[in-house]
């Protein structure tokens, strides 16, 4: 609550001089002791943030390089896997053809054997009669 003084309250008096001194003391303390320290703290933080951003950029580049490496390795692995699969299919075809050939040969040999044995049996039976 404001109490109006008896004199003209719009005219300054000696109070202003005291208040000038008080404010100058505050100005001295703030400008000599507080703001330089704040300035130093802000600069240190700015440097830390800059360093962290730099490290983050480096880490991002390294991660990108590793990702590229991984993609390259994966492509090579897929290519190698395809070769192995193709080779396996070829081997499979070869083995199947070989098996068929052997089977057919064995079949023909067995058939010939049976016919020969049967023919001989007929001949033996004809002689007996």
């Amino acid at each position: 609550m404001i109490e109006l003084p008896d004199s003209n309250f719009l005219l300054p008096d000696a109070t202003a001089l005291v208040e000038v001194v008080v404010f100058l003391v505050v100005l001295f303390v703030v400008s000599k002791f507080v703001l330089p320290r704040l300035h130093m703290l802000m600069n240190q933080r700015r440097h830390q943030i800059d360093d962290a951003l730099h490290a983050a950029a480096e880490a991002e580049a390294e991660a990108r390089a590793r990702h590229d490496d991984a993609a390259r390795t994966l492509r090579a692995a897929r290519r190698q896997a395809r070769l192995i699969i193709d080779h396996a299919y070829e081997r499979h075809d070869h083995l199947v053809a070989e098996g068929r050939r052997k089977g057919r040969e064995e079949y023909e040999w067995s058939t010939r054997n049976i016919i020969r044995t049967e023919t001989r049996s007929h001949e033996v039976a004809g002689d007996g009669r």
Binding site: D13, T15, A16, V25, L38
Partner: protein, 223 residues
């Protein structure tokens, strides 16, 4: 000449509050984990530095004056809002605002004199000669407007509080009183900001960047 003891006490208490907070910020200031008060002081200093286009050697003076003014006026404006505070706002007294405005104008002109030299200082304010009376009048009016603006707002605010108390019975006065207190909090910040901003603008006009030949004119701020 008389001294108003309550105004001096209020001013001293304000100064002690500002110095206490400032020293607290200085002592507890941290790079990694700044507290809210430290961040507020840093924001004030950064804003002042961004707004100041003062010649580099004198920039810190302008910034520290504006930052100190902002916190001092803010503390002074909020002093009666403290719970149980018997003290009036020192800024509702013409002596305080006249004192602050005088300090600002003296600092601005002393800095301009030092930066420009006596001849450059006089040339800056007296050329062209036919405009010199207007410029002198402008310089004379600056501290008066600076002081009266702050005083007028805070004094009127105190009057409104007094009128609410006088015109309304206590229970009915509570709601408008609280509403006005909230408005006072907001207005305290605005008035402190305006005073600090005008201080920087006066410094900008008196000692602009590029005044020193060694300093590039385009260089406005250090970040």
């Amino acid at each position: 000449m008389s001294v108003q003891l309550d105004a001096v006490i209020a001013c001293t208490v304000t100064a002690l509050i500002v110095i206490s907070f400032a020293m607290y910020v200085r002592v507890t200031g941290s790079v990694r984990k700044p507290g809210p008060l430290q961040l507020a002081w840093e924001a004030t200093a950064t804003t002042a530095r961004d707004l100041s286009h003062v010649s580099a050697p004198y920039r810190e003076r302008a910034v520290s004056t504006a930052v100190t003014l902002f916190w001092f006026i803010l503390a002074a404006n909020w002093l009666p809002l403290l719970p149980g505070s018997p003290l009036p706002a020192p800024t509702a007294n013409i002596n305080m605002t006249i004192a602050l405005a005088t300090i600002v104008i003296v600092l601005v002109h002393a800095t301009a004199w030092r930066a420009r030299g006596a001849r450059g200082y006089l040339r800056h304010y007296l050329s062209p000669l036919w405009l010199a009376p207007v410029r002198l009048l402008d310089e004379l009016v600056k501290p008066v407007t600076l002081a009266l603006r702050l005083f007028g707002v805070l004094f009127a605010s105190g009057l409104v509080v007094a009128m609410l108390g006088a015109l309304l019975p206590p229970p009915a006065a509570l709601v408008p009183h609280v509403a006005w207190m909230i408005f006072d909090i907001f207005m305290g910040v605005i008035q402190a900001f305006i005073f600090a901003l005008l201080t920087i603008l006066y410094f900008n006009a008196a000692v602009p960047a590029g005044l020193d030949p060694a300093e590039p004119a385009t260089e406005m701020r250090t970040r």
